[in-house]
Amino acid sequence: MLSRRIRTIFRYLLIIILTLFFLIPFYIMVRNAVISDMQILSPDAGWFPWPMQIRENLTELFSNIDVSILNGLRNSTIVAVTSTFFGILFAIMAGYALARIPFRWREQFFFFILATMMIPPVTIFIPTYMVVFKLKMINTFQGIIFPGLFDTFSAIMFRQFFLDFPGELEESGRIDGLSYFGIFWRLALPNSLNILVPLTVIMFLGSWNSFLWPLVVGQDPTKWTVQVALSVFLTAQRIILHEVFMGGVIALLPTLVVFLILQRYITRGIMLSGIKG
């Protein structure tokens, strides 16, 4: 039997090695983004990126006429912000209704939503494309945004949250003469930040990082999201490595910032949802 001390040392050693493995991809991306292609290609280039040419690489990336990363950032912002805002709004509205408002067929509505959550995304990929095509939404932001807007998972999470919502709060709102909407808007919504924040972040990450659907619907270069633009870099006639990596760093920044700032909330939210999910 190993002594306690040796086991502890072994544990720290293992976790530190794993930490390095998990961080290397980020490091190598940043390193390759700030040096010249010649250095990237050189097997003898050191770990430390030197000499750096951040400014040159940035100007070169932004002046690329085949792939506009700025345009991609703009499109991704439009898509991700709209999707997240309306997606979460619709989900929390439905979740609240399912948990707190009496209605004859409430259970039936709940089971319908539960059933649609079970449908694998592969199933509806081509059929949804057909519907979007028929609605003439190919190569439009509506086409990219609409099908992902109805987030049953979040709706069910919100329902679960509101089931445990204190009834006294609603009762007091009713005494003050608030309607159901008033109670939802002024009492339920502001008091649901614990679940609202993580679900919003998760939806934003998913929307910003999604690839297949924007690729299929937004074929036109003016509608490329940043992920599609990054992917196009890879199929270019001549791959300019530092542009690819600099593009990657820029595409990662928004999600990374959101993630790092709100990490505490996300962690708690996922723990909350996982146990019940």
Partner: protein, 323 residues
């Protein structure tokens, strides 16, 4: 689902049908739920029903229901060796990636929980890749870590030890190392957080009692306390993981996808490993074969349902161990 404790529902049962406040409640309910329900109808229910109908027609470049072919599309796909290959491929991929991700994320959770210093830091480190997209991770893997050339990080390290370089993205079986590691890196953190959350729910008294009984903290407590009590989370993680594996597209497309140069020479490595979604994507864009495409989607769905049932059977889904 706890509707008994719900005061609103209890009240509605006591009152007579359809008085004023009840009508108000019904309207509020409908108004709040309408956007989601209408959206689900348009972008879920209608596509599935319509798609199901179209899958029995020869619908190429059109959705017109003119040429009824019965189950022709299904037969055509099931006798297409390319399609069968993609089904086999994704099944093997799932068979490999699901247990690996499961074991690795559970291991990370146990490891993070077992250290006293810097627990929050390590948890963050393993969780951060969640912010990264599959496209970006594919770029890092393909263009740097696992690049076929000598400048790829792995090959550079191997060169240091005098080992000749390996074509990590263009030769089998090495390409699977690339595909599996990228998914592990991206996914493990999220599942690790789920496990850590579930582990916090396990009452400390159980461990205290075990320690009184003389059980060494470590493998024994993990085997007889932690692991059995993580059962529900385990089932959830395995199922989510499996569904995610079957929708694999991004990393296959971006790591194996043809570069311009590769397409010129006809040596596109995507042919080596084409998962079903890539197959459907090609069906959609090269042939505009809607009938066949939808039929393919439904065959894959059946496969997923079948695997889920088998998985549930093995894991004893629904059997509760908490007395």
């Amino acid at each position: 689902m706890g509707s008994e404790q719900n005061p609103a529902l209890v009240r509605s049962k006591i009152r007579k049908p359809m008085n004023r406040s009840q009508r108000e409640a019904s309207w509020a309910f409908i108004a709040l739920i309408a956007p989601l329900i209408v959206g689900l109808m348009v972008f879920m229910v209608i596509p599935i029903v319509w798609g199901f109908i179209v899958s029995f027609f020869d619908a190429r470049f059109t959705f017109d229901l003119k040429t009824f072919v019965g189950v022709g599309n299904y037969i055509r796909l099931l006798s297409d060796p390319q399609f069968i290959r993609s089904l086999k491929l994704i099944s093997f991929f799932a068979l490999f990636i699901v247990p690996t991700t499961y074991a690795f994320s559970l291991g990370l959770a146990v490891l993070v929980n077992s250290v006293n210093k810097g627990r929050g830091f390590f948890r963050s480190v393993f969780f951060i890749p969640t912010a990264c997209s599959y496209v970006l991770a594919s770029i890092i893997w393909r263009m740097s870590l696992f690049n076929d050339m000598y400048f790829g990080l792995i090959n550079a390290v191997m060169r240091f030890f005098g080992i000749p370089p390996i074509a990590w993205t263009t030769s089998s079986p090495w390409v699977w190392v690339t595909l599996v590691t990228v998914r592990l890196w991206l996914q493990c953190g999220l599942y690790m957080i789920l496990f850590i959350g579930a582990m916090q729910e396990i009452p400390q008294e159980l461990y205290d009692a075990a320690s009184v009984d003389g059980a060494e903290s470590g493998w024994v407590t993990f085997r007889y306390i932690t692991f059995p009590l993580l059962r529900n989370t385990s089932i959830f993680v395995l199922l989510m993981n499996m569904i995610h594996a079957f929708r694999a597209f991004d990393e296959f497309y971006n790591i194996l996808g043809g570069t311009y140069a590769a397409m010129q020479t006809g040596g596109v490595s995507l042919w080596m490993a084409r998962p079903p979604l890539v197959y459907l994507y090609t069906a959609l864009f090269s042939g505009r074969d809607y009938g066949g495409g939808v039929a393919g989607s439904f065959i894959i769905t059946l496969l997923i349902v079948f695997v889920a049932l088998v998985q549930g059977r093995i894991l004893g889904f629904g059997r509760s161990i908490r007395a």
